[in-house]
């Protein structure tokens, strides 16, 4: 406003002179028309900001609600026996989910054993070898597989593993989780490898380092954190899978002594306890949900730490 003082009065608004003036002084912001335009722009900016803030809240609110509810309902049943004891028969109070917690880790271990090498190697093929056309199809297939509902994976493994072997088993559970993580890990590994600048490959090859060693010692090493992050996130995702395990691992109320026997898993235990009619089991189901949630959250936090350290050192962004 103060800019106006001392300057000739602007032409009446709407007149051709005013238009010309507005054009001539564009960006100076001393014309009243322009001032209203600026005010409108600020209002618009504020509106958009408010809407995006609300949407962010809408995303964060469910997370807070879930955590709050699971904490409130589950914390009372979480105690030492929950982590060390086996499930008790109906009517007997107490007991724990030690077998399910260990079983979840066993299943994730099997899944990683089967899925990680295949996924990472597939990612390497996509990033370093193959032809553009072939890779397009592989990528397309992987993306379709990523969208396949997990219960269908369960049915597939039921038909391919459980039926021929005539029994549910830890192996079947590990295989189904492994199959689910393969396309996930494949795509993240590929992305991470492609982030490694071509200059590093060229530098290594120009030193007379073979292509194989360049790949393993230079390219994979540079992308290692990113690939590890992808693997952890994939495992965190399948840690809570329930449907495919119903057909394969089946669940077990006792310790699993052989990978050829059914095995307990946290999501399965939560499922069977949650649909039961017993108050005590409901509380245990909440406690199981809390433990599972904390596990997955821990994985996510460790991934954050991994990636933060990387960006601090000026390495590849995630």
């Amino acid at each position: 406003m103060s800019l106006k003082t001392g300057l000739p009065l602007p032409a009446p608004p709407g007149s051709p002179e005013a238009k010309a003036e507005t054009l001539g002084r564009a960006g100076v912001g001393i014309d009243s028309k322009q001032e209203s335009y600026h005010r409108w722009r600020n209002v618009k900016n504020g509106l958009v900001q408010a809407v995006t803030c609300l949407c962010t809240l809408a995303v964060l609110l469910p997370l807070a609600l879930v955590f709050n509810h699971v904490l409130k309902s589950g914390l009372s049943a979480v105690n030492l026996t929950f982590f060390t004891g086996l499930p008790k028969p109906v009517g007997e109070p107490g007991g724990g989910m030690a077998n399910a917690i260990v079983g979840t880790f066993e299943l994730l271990g099997l899944a990683a054993l089967l899925g990680v090498p295949v996924g990472v190697c597939g990612g390497i093929f996509l990033a370093e070898y193959g032809s553009t056309k072939l890779n397009w199809w592989i990528r397309f297939a992987a993306d379709v597989l990523n969208g396949v509902p997990s219960i269908i994976w369960g049915m597939v493994v039921y038909a391919l593993v459980v039926v021929p072997r005539k029994g549910f088993s830890a192996w079947a559970g590990g295989i189904v989780l492994g199959m689910i993580i393969v396309p996930l890990i494949m795509r993240t590994s590929e992305e991470m490898l492609r982030l490694v600048p071509q200059g590093y490959r060229e530098a290594a090859l120009a030193l007379g380092i073979s292509q194989w060693r360049t790949l393993v010692q230079i390219v994979l090493r540079t992308a290692l954190r990113g690939i590890t992050t992808g693997i952890l996130l994939a495992l965190a995702r399948v840690a809570g899978e329930t449907a495919p395990l119903l057909f394969t691992a089946f669940g077990n109320r006792f310790w699993n002594h052989s990978l050829n026997d059914p095995i307990a898993a946290l999501p399965l235990q939560i499922f069977s306890y949650a649909i039961s009619p017993y108050e005590d089991w409901h509380r245990q189901a909440w406690a199981g949900a809390l433990v599972l949630l904390v596990l997955v959250a821990l994985v996510n936090v460790s991934v954050r730490l991994l990636t933060r350290e990387r960006s601090n050192r000026g390495r590849l962004p995630l």
Partner: protein, 279 residues
């Protein structure tokens, strides 16, 4: 545009200014001898029948406007062009008499003899300063600590970086400044003891002070190595090189002693380029 006489193969010129050292070598035979080299990417011909001899233990600068094939020429000398699947090469390149384009020559072993420094410094970010220098040796099976330590120090000394990094050899390579990183890359290339060093605009991303250090280094290194340097910077070519080749549109227009190319070029195009009238 190029007439027959310009196609004639320039001899490695040994002019007064730099002949003393060349005579010391006692050899007139060139380190690199290129004959009728053509490079194609798919259907596009990027280099057209280049013939050129690069003198041993001298600096040969390759100048020319962008897209004239300078880098392609350099990259064909250690067969880095093969990284592009559509690339195809015709002609002959001899390294101290040996035909390096023959299928019997492994590109991997060739590249140990013909080292390369890139425009953008690219030390490996996962490795320390020391590991970066010795990586070419370690990944080719050298295990003896004494050998590695000796090459490490020697290479860093040669690259004029030793005094700046000797107290923090285990620090990450990315903690160095841009100019230091480029000298680290030179040390890395020197550690595998190549015979020829190819430099693709090694100082174009550096500030004037760092550039000067690299240029001093190039002058120092030519006592032991045959150096080919691609540069956009005319002054740099004039300051550092003994011989200069001017490329234009994939052809070698003129090649000769740097002093002559810059003061008395035979071709009008060369004169226009070195005086900054085009390019």
């Amino acid at each position: 545009m190029i007439t027959e006489e310009r196609q004639t193969i320039p001899k490695p010129p040994l002019v007064a200014a730099d002949s003393a050292r060349a005579r010391e070598q006692g050899s007139g035979s060139p380190a690199l001898s290129v004959r009728n080299l053509s490079v194609f990417f798919g259907k596009v011909q990027v280099l057209k029948r280049i013939s050129l001899d690069a003198a041993a233990q001298a600096v040969t600068a390759i100048i020319g406007p962008s897209g004239c094939g300078k880098s392609t020429f350099l990259r064909s000398l250690n067969r880095m062009h093969e990284l592009v699947p559509s690339a195809r090469v015709e002609g002959e390149i001899r390294l101290f008499g040996e035909d390096i384009l023959s299928p019997e020559v492994e590109p991997v072993s060739l590249r140990r003899r013909v080292g390369m420094v890139f425009q953008k410094s690219n030390p490996f970010p996962t490795m320390s300063i020391a590991d970066n220098v010795t990586v070419g040796l370690r990944l080719n099976g050298v295990r003896q600590r004494s050998v590695l330590a000796q090459r490490l120090e020697h290479s860093l000394l040669m690259a004029a970086l030793w005094d700046e990094v000797k107290d923090r050899l285990d620090a990450p390579a990315t903690s160095l400044s841009g100019g230091q990183q480029q000298r680290l890359c030179i040390a890395r290339a020197l550690a595998v003891q190549p015979e020829v060093l190819l430099m693709d605009e090694p100082a174009s991303a550096l500030d004037p002070l760092a550039t000067r250090k690299i240029e001093d280094l190039i002058r120092e290194l030519k006592k032991k190595y045959t150096i080919l340097i691609v540069t956009h910077n005319m002054q740099q070519a004039a300051r550092t090189s003994d011989y200069t080749a001017f490329f234009y549109l994939g052809e070698l227009v003129e090649y000769g002693a740097t002093a002559r190319i810059f003061t008395n070029p035979a071709q009008k195009q060369t004169e226009d380029y070195v005086t900054g009238r085009f390019g």
